[in-house]
């Protein structure tokens, strides 16, 4: 009947295999895809080669900064995915977190309260798809994805009508200097390589990598968390306190997302911009990072430290997006979402499934 024979592999692929295969696929698909789309849109081949193969990009401050942001986001979604929540709502969550910082700035609440506010808001927002999935068996992917649009439109409304910084263009007022993290000073030699990155983010990232690797594969809490991805039935019958586990999962990821968006917002323009592409589900502050880091999370689920490597590669990809202009950026933004997800799917396919084409074995 079916000429393709598919079976799930019983053994776990080795780390080396995972890295090599997913790296190759990731790189090929994302770069090839972006490359061809840009060609089709009228770019000159010459210009493209200049953009793509500029070695200075490898260690530029923007690249490193974005690597850290993407890595933080990836680890956040890794926790969600480990708990069975495929969280496609990254764009909306990042936007809402920035909103929390804006509110803290407007009402002079200080950086600590800003974080608390952000964490609470994110937990509430992300609990909707997660809880619906666990208790109603609905599609967490679909709901979290649709919520992006809602969040982005809400932010648009707020920067246009509620907290508007300029009359000429819709955007928020600048974030108060009191809301700040500790950045590498410009005199420091590291500044040339790392750029305007905060010490806190670096520390949180490193701690998170170690902590997650240990937590998920060696502790009872980790096992309980992961059981929710297998089945709610199994989790409840194994004595897992489901509401508490959901809360812990969302708490940990909310903390990481808050740091990532703080890094994006406070280390950069310090204003929230209008989301022109809200209709497509892409925020102007996050440029599709929410989707991309989810893809990385799915790939690094067994070995969290691999996400650092992928984050770096994606940051390079983003460098290329920023070197382009106009509506091309739109195409690329959309394409990066699709292409990064596609490469995850294909990697998963090659790594975890055995596919055989059967035309020899006819009846």
């Amino acid at each position: 009947m079916n000429s393709i024979y598919v079976r799930r592999k019983s053994d776990e692929p080795s780390t080396v295999k995972i890295i090599i295969i997913s790296l190759v696929i990731f790189t090929i698909i994302v770069f090839l895809g972006v490359f061809s789309l840009m060609l089709l849109s009228g770019y000159e081949l010459k210009d493209l080669i200049n953009i793509f193969f500029d070695y200075r990009n490898l260690l530029s401050p923007i690249t490193i900064r974005y690597s850290i942001v993407i890595a933080l986001l990836s680890l956040a979604f890794l926790i969600n995915v480990a708990g069975g929540f495929i969280n496609l709502g990254g764009e909306g969550l990042i936007a809402l977190s920035m909103l929390a910082f804006l509110i803290a700035s407007v009402y002079n609440l200080g950086i600590f309260t800003a974080f608390v506010l952000s964490i609470l808001l994110l937990i509430l927002w992300a609990s909707i798809p997660y809880i619906s999935k666990v208790y109603l068996e609905s599609s967490d992917v679909l709901i979290s994805f649709l919520q992006n649009f809602i969040a982005l439109f809400i932010i648009n409304h707020i920067v246009t009508h509620v907290f508007r910084g300029e009359l000429a263009r819709p955007r928020s007022p600048p974030i108060d200097p009191s809301i700040n993290l500790h950045y590498i000073s410009q005199d420091n030699i590291l500044y040339n390589y790392l750029g305007r990155v905060s010490i806190e983010s670096i520390i949180v990232l490193l701690v998170a990598v170690v902590f997650l690797t240990y937590l998920l594969s060696r502790t009872k809490i980790g096992y309980s968390l992961r059981l929710l991805s297998y089945s709610t039935k199994t989790a409840s019958i194994s004595g897992v306190n489901i509401p508490r586990t959901i809360f812990l999962n969302l708490l940990m990821s909310a903390i990481l997302i808050s740091f990532a968006s703080a890094e994006l917002l406070l280390g950069g323009e310090r204003k929230i911009f209008y989301n022109e592409n809200a209709k497509i589900g892409i925020g102007s502050m996050s440029f599709g990072l929410g989707y991309v880091s989810l893809s990385i999370a799915i790939l690094s689920i067994r070995k969290p430290y691999i996400s650092l490597l992928y984050s770096y590669i994606l940051a390079l990809g983003y460098m290329m997006v920023f070197s382009s202009y106009g509506f091309y950026r739109l195409i690329l933004g959309v394409a990066i979402v699709g292409l990064s997800l596609l490469s995850v799917l294909l990697s998963e396919l090659l790594l975890r499934y055995e596919v055989r084409l059967n035309w020899r074995l006819k009846h």
Binding site: S132, S138, L146, I154, A335
Partner: protein, 298 residues
Amino acid sequence: MAFETLILQILSMGSILIFGILGEILSERSGVVNLGIEGSIALGAASAYAATIYFDNCLIGLFLGTLSGVLPAFLLILLSVYLPLNMIVVGITSSSIFSAVSIVIGNLVPRLPQKRLILSSEEFTIYLIFMISLMSSALLYIVMRQRIGLIIRSVGEDPYTAYSMGINIWRIRTLSTITSGFLGGLVGSLMILMPMVSVIWREGLTSGWGYILVAITPASLWNPLIGALLGIFMGMISFLSIAIQTSGLIPLSTDLASLLPYLLAVFLYVLIRGLFLRKLIAAPRALAKEFVLEERYE
């Protein structure tokens, strides 16, 4: 706004959405959630626009636009029907990629007002298309009650049993998904060509409609007749936001108006799932479950 014009607008948007819902109902009955429909709609709109401008003929535009809707469905079928990758993620992937492609296509021609689909008069066209959409809904309903409908339902309920009964799961899912893709292309094309609804194409014109349709399909209880009602209802919602804004009754900004359909979609979806869990309604049991010939557990 004259009452008659309002009715025409609702009917025109409504019939377009009915086609989309029918396509999604069909594919979901066989177990496939076609999130690629977002890409089909985007691609359909861009292709219809480009073809209409290029050939200066809206019928060619309609034809090519509908045809192009099949492309995102192909990717979904390859990766989620023949291979067992998560069909929701694949659907979003496919939609993203083909939305990007649609932007490229739409920009291949100069930005001009396109010829709309008008047969003898605007009203006649709208009523005609509306009738066709209702008839399609009735047709699907009748088909689902035949043996072929039983076969499709069995694939959506319990693919393994259907397989052991000798039914070709892959063929059924492929056919239903391709049809859904065509209908998505049709939706996109009509959004560009249908009087009262169409505007000059621009990037991101149709964005979000595909996802919204998927989210509200469960509210039709997978019944084509209820789906037709749902389409008309969503047609009303789409014009409601514009109407509220222009009438100035409630101070609703463009952004808040834009989020209404999404909010409604999420709300309806969660509500239906809640009702489903209370056994009040029944979804196809194998919906969104990729089918793999597994022999042992897992």
